[in-house]
Subunit: 332 residues, 2 copies
Amino acid sequence: MTELARATRGDRRPESLAAALLEGSPTALARGLTWAEAGGERAEALLALTYARGGRAHVVGVTGAPGSGKSTLTRALARVARQRGRTVGVLAVDPSSPFTGGAILGDRIRMNDLSLDPGVFIRSMATRGALGGLCRAAADAVDLMDAAGRDVVFVETVGVGQDEVEIMRVAHTVVVVSVPGLGDDVQALKAGILEVADVHVVNKADREGADRTIAELRAMLTLVPTPPGVPVPPVLRASATREEGIEAIADAVEAHGAALATSGQLDVRRRRAAEARVLAIAGTLIAAALGDPGRGDDGTLIEQVAKRTLVPHAAARALLAKARERERTSHV
Amino acid sequence: MTELARATRGDRRPESLAAALLEGSPTALARGLTWAEAGGERAEALLALTYARGGRAHVVGVTGAPGSGKSTLTRALARVARQRGRTVGVLAVDPSSPFTGGAILGDRIRMNDLSLDPGVFIRSMATRGALGGLCRAAADAVDLMDAAGRDVVFVETVGVGQDEVEIMRVAHTVVVVSVPGLGDDVQALKAGILEVADVHVVNKADREGADRTIAELRAMLTLVPTPPGVPVPPVLRASATREEGIEAIADAVEAHGAALATSGQLDVRRRRAAEARVLAIAGTLIAAALGDPGRGDDGTLIEQVAKRTLVPHAAARALLAKARERERTSHV
C-alpha cells in the first residue's frame, strides 16, 4: 500500500481515491473498479478525475468461444508481459473464466501464483445489464487500469454476442482464439468478431484438424481488408496449457501495437474505442428511461406507443430528452 | 387505383397520401413505403397521420439461415392466407430473397403469379444503415401495411445478426426456419433468435438428418420458458418447394395469434414491438449525431473523447442532447 493510499484509507471522496489510484495504489484501483462496476455518480466522478491521465496502456482484447482456452492463453500472455518488464492489468468479462471461478483446481493454483505478483492486477466482472451496461462497466474498468499506470491491460470476453463484440472495440489489439474441430467456431467468427481480429490464435494446436482450421482462417482473412500500415492478421498456433507458442503470440501483439503507433492507425482505434464507449453509456441512459412516463397519465412512453396513442418517432425524441434529464437529476 | 388515389395522384402532401393509404390504395401504399425507406420528415409525417389506425394486422416474422428456403415458405404461407380470405402484405428484408431478385427463374415466375393478385402486396427492402436504421425502416413499412388494412403482414429476414433479431421483435408471431444438416444453423439460433421463436419449421424435411434437427430443436426448447397462455413453440416439418406441410404451419401461426389475443400476451408483444422500434429510431438519431462537434473547436465529440479532452460520460450526455436537437431542426 502506498503512503497516500494509507493516508486516505476510509476516505470515500472520489478526489482522494483518484489521487491514490493515479499514484498506482492497487488498493485504490480495486476500490475504483468496484465503483466502476456499480456505476453511478461516484464512478463517473472518479472517471472524470482520472480519464485525462490515461491513454498510455496497450489494451489487448482476448476473445474466443467457450472452451477455446482463452483464459489460459491470457494468463500465459500476462506472464510473458511480466517477464518483459511490463506491469499488467487483467479484466475477465466471462462467467466461464477461471478468473471468475470457473476453473479446475490446477488452473486456480497457477492463477493464484500469478495474482501474488504485485505487477499483475486481476479483476473479473460478471455479465450484467442490457443495452451497453456491460460494455460501459468494462470500458470504465479498462480506463481505470490505464490511469493507474498498467502498461498492458488484457480484456478477456467470450466471443459470442453483440455485447462482447462491443467490448472488443475498446481494445487496440484483438486476439481471437479458435480451436480445431469446432466448425461452429469459425462460423461464429463470421458474425462480427472477424472484423475486429488483429491476431488469430489456433489453440490446442496438437489436436486433429488444426491445419484445416488454420487454412480456413487464412482463407477467410483474404476477404477482410487490412488498413494501410497495419500487418495482415497472422494466424498462429499455440498450446496454452503447455505454454507452447506464447512468445510468438506476445511478439505479434507487440508488433501490432507498434504498427498502430507508427501508421497513425492508433488514432483510428482510439476513435473506435471512444465511439463504442460513448454509445454504451448512451445506451444505458436510454434503457433506464424506457419506463419513464409518457404524455399525460396514460402509462409509460413504450405503453403509449403500444396502445397507439403516441407515435414511435415522437416517443424516440421524448426518450432522448428523458434520458438526458435523468442523467442530470439522478445518475445512472 | 381508388378514386381518392386517382384524385390525389401527383399530390405529394403527406395528408393526401395518408388518406389514400388508409383507404387501402396499393399505389398510395407503394409510395408510402418508398417514403418510409428513405426516412426523414415526410416519412415521419405519414406515420404520424396513419399510426393510430394500425394495430389490427397480424404481423408474422419469418426468419432462418440463408438457404433455408424461408422465402419459398413465406410465399406459400401468403398463398394459404389468401385462400383463407385474408389480404396480405409481404416485406422481404433479405438480399438473398427471391422477393429482392435473388431467385432462380422458376421462383420468379411463381413469385410474379403471386404478385398479380391485388390481395397480396409485396415489397423488398435492401439492407442499409447502421444502429437501427434498417429496423426503423422495416418497422415503419410494417405499420404502413397495417394501416393500409392488410390482414396479415409477413416480414422475412435472414436470421443472423443483431439487426435481424431486432426486426423480428416487431412481429407478433415469429416463424424460425431450419434445415437438416446445417449444424451451424441450430448453433446460430442459440445466439438470440431462439428466444423470439413461436413456431419452428424444419424445411426440406425430406433430407437426411431431419429427425435429428427436430430432436435438437425440441431439446433446446425445453430450456426456454413459454409465457402463460401461449403454446409451447411447435416444431413442424415442411417441404416448401413441394408445398407440403404449409397448411399445418399456417394453422400454428393462426393458433399462436389467437392465443396471444386471449391470454393477454398480445399486449406484451405490442410493448416489445414498441420498445424495439422506439430504440431503433433513437439509435438512428444518435448515430447521426456521433460526428457532431464537441465543446470548442477541437473536433467531434468522439474525437475529443479519443484525445481525452472530453470524458466519455459527458460526451454521452452531449450526444443525447445533440441527437434531440438535430431531430428538432433537420429530420433524419
